[in-house]
């Protein structure tokens, strides 16, 4: 659904999306990286389970919520990709780890 302009340069930042390796471009937001990887939806809502994806790309719609490095409900359009980043799509409400140690 989205293709990269050639002058954008190489996509050489290695991240994982739902455990699968994916290459992102340095400077991309997580939302842009997911859209570039062909994922239009990034979560299902806690209210009805409907699928949602990035909508405004400027941090005001809160539809692009994903779990980043174990931290849930992060706005993907406001976080830049980083090598080794673990991006996970969300299902329903944020899962906070109540049993045992909370993640960093």
């Amino acid at each position: 659904m989205f293709a990269r302009r050639p002058e954008a340069g190489p996509s050489n930042v290695a991240v994982t999306i739902d455990g699968q390796p994916s290459m992102a471009r340095a400077g991309d937001s997580v939302a842009a990286a997911m859209l570039a990887a062909g994922l239009l939806a990034c979560r299902t809502t806690p209210v009805s389970g409907a699928e949602r994806g990035p909508f405004c790309m400027m941090g005001v719609c809160f539809d692009c919520l994903v779990t980043i490095d174990g931290n849930p409900n992060r706005q993907a359009c406001l976080v830049a990709v980083r090598a080794g980043m673990r991006i996970e799509r969300q299902s329903g409400p944020a899962a906070i780890p109540v049993e045992g140690e909370p993640s960093a």
């Binding site: 989205f2 939806a41 809160f62």
Partner: protein
């Protein structure tokens, strides 16, 4: 980046207005902090201007690249810049203000004497059936993907709505050889006649040549359907078709991406939560903060500049930013009023120039009522998934305003804090009750205006009084 504990002025937002305001303050010797939610300056209009991969300047256009000069000016002026820093609260403290800032996962309080809000605008809600489907996005989102990441939409792309940003996006896509399936223009037919009243002003304004040029470009590669009245996004789990009605005929086309836009409105959440008075503007169909000719709001010490004080475009935003910055510097004693006025002259005439023709644009591109006021099962509040029917049923129950509505239905209680539903809810209630939107009012907004973690709040300073108010060790529980 280390943020100090105190500054003279905090500027919130690094778009045209914020950059200009911070530059004027810093140049006048004011200790200035520019707080930017984004990782690099430019706001939305000049988004990613220091990092965009689109080096060929013809793609984004000269209006965009003008912003480069603003950033260079800011970099030279001597203000402190805090990227990736979200302001979630501004509260009065010790004669000045305390800004709650969340930066890289940690919250802190910054003490300042004055605040300039330059939080800009956001796209007006566009509540059509199916607008929550993946594959439906705002047109501004596509523009951001283009500017920041060099990403182009592919497949069957439909643009829909009305307003300069839509045509600008169409032109930019055309310049990158991106095929647009349809541009569905929802500007109603009668509107040209109404707008013509302001046509002379428009003709001598900076907008005319620009506007006509964009339309010509867009027409070259996109099929434009005019006077589109009804719009629906259809699909099972993703957008797959767009249905629309034009000139009495219904059409349904296959679509992979639907990009919506019907204008921008001020982002008032922070100003409103601070307590700045707002007024309903019937021509912009939005709530606008009440400000004077220097941008001073109803809260002493808080100024509002740029599109956040009323939509007028990037050059006007820059002018108002300069005026707010000069006003702050004068109020802090760094400039005498005569010097402030002298430095303000160019901005004042630029503002006048930009204002000419604004009425034409506002009238022409006033979004059509059926596309502002949904019916039935169309979702109004995206976060809490509240429909138009639910809202109207609740008005029938006696619910007279958006705050009661919020407590009855949870609409407006989600993380976006009403940014994508507030205007729709106010107008739906107004129409159902038969009273003007000004009488209905808007959501009462509170801090935090952006989410901050409980852990960040927990790390903020406590006092003996606050501990006593909560733990109440000496008193008995009741």
């Amino acid at each position: 980046m280390t943020i100090d504990e105190r500054y003279d002025v905090a500027v919130v937002g690094a778009g045209a207005a914020g950059l200009a305001a911070a530059s004027e303050c810093a140049r006048a010797g004011v200790a200035t902090l520019l707080l930017d939610e984004q990782p690099s300056p430019g706001g939305q209009i000049y988004r990613s201007i220091t990092t965009t991969p689109l080096a060929d300047r013809r793609v984004l256009g000269s209006d965009y690249w003008y912003g480069e000069a603003l950033v260079r000016e800011f970099e030279r002026a001597g203000a402190a810049y805090a990227p990736r820093s979200t302001v979630w609260a501004v509260t009065p403290e010790g004669g000045g203000f305390e800004a709650g800032v969340s930066s890289d996962g940690a919250a802190r309080l910054v003490a300042v004497k004055r605040v300039i809000l330059a939080t800009g605008a956001l796209e007006r809600p566009f509540p059509i059936p199916g607008w929550t489907l993946p594959g439906v996005m705002m047109a501004g989102a596509a523009q951001i993907l283009l500017k920041s990441s060099g990403l182009l939409p592919r497949g069957r792309i439909v643009l829909a709505g009305s307003g300069p940003l839509l045509y600008l996006l169409a032109a930019q896509l055309v310049r990158t050889d991106t095929r647009i399936e349809r541009l569905l223009d929802t500007t109603p037919p009668a509107r040209w006649r109404v707008a013509a009243r302001h046509a002379f002003a428009f003709a001598v304004s900076p907008y005319l040549a620009k506007g006509l040029g964009l339309l010509r470009e867009a027409r070259r590669a996109a099929r434009i359907v005019e006077h589109v009245e009804h719009l629906e996004a259809l699909g099972d789990r993703r957008l797959s078709r767009v249905r629309y009605m034009a000139k009495g005929r219904s059409e349904e086309i296959i679509a992979d991406l639907l990009l919506l836009h019907q204008g921008v409105v001020p982002n008032i959440n922070l100003a409103s939560a601070i307590g700045c008075a707002q007024r309903w503007d019937a021509s912009q169909l939005a709530f606008i903060p009440v400000v004077d000719e220097w941008g001073a709001s109803s809260v002493p010490g808080v100024s509002i500049a740029g599109d956040g004080a009323g939509i007028a475009g990037a050059r006007a935003a820059e002018a108002r930013g300069r005026l707010a910055g000069l006003h702050a510097a004068c109020a802090l004693g760094r400039l005498d009023p005569a010097e402030r006025d002298r430095r303000a002259r160019t901005s004042r005439s630029e503002l006048a120039r930009q204002a000419r023709g604004r009425a034409f644009i506002d009238t022409l591109y006033r979004p059509a009522e059926p596309l502002r006021l949904p019916q039935g099962d169309t979702i109004v509040c995206r976060c809490e998934e509240i429909t138009a029917r639910q809202i109207l049923d609740t008005v029938k129950l006696g619910c007279i305003g958006p705050n009661q509505m919020k407590s009855f239905l949870r609409c407006g209680m989600g993380p976006c804090q009403g940014r994508f539903c507030g205007l729709t809810v106010t107008e739906l209630i107004a129409k159902a009750r038969g009273v003007p939107p000004a009488e209905v009012g808007y959501y009462r907004l509170r801090f935090p205006v952006k989410p901050v973690t409980l852990g960040e709040i927990a790390a903020l300073p406590q006092t003996e009084a606050s501990v006593q108010a909560v733990a109440r060790l000496a008193k008995s529980e009741d």
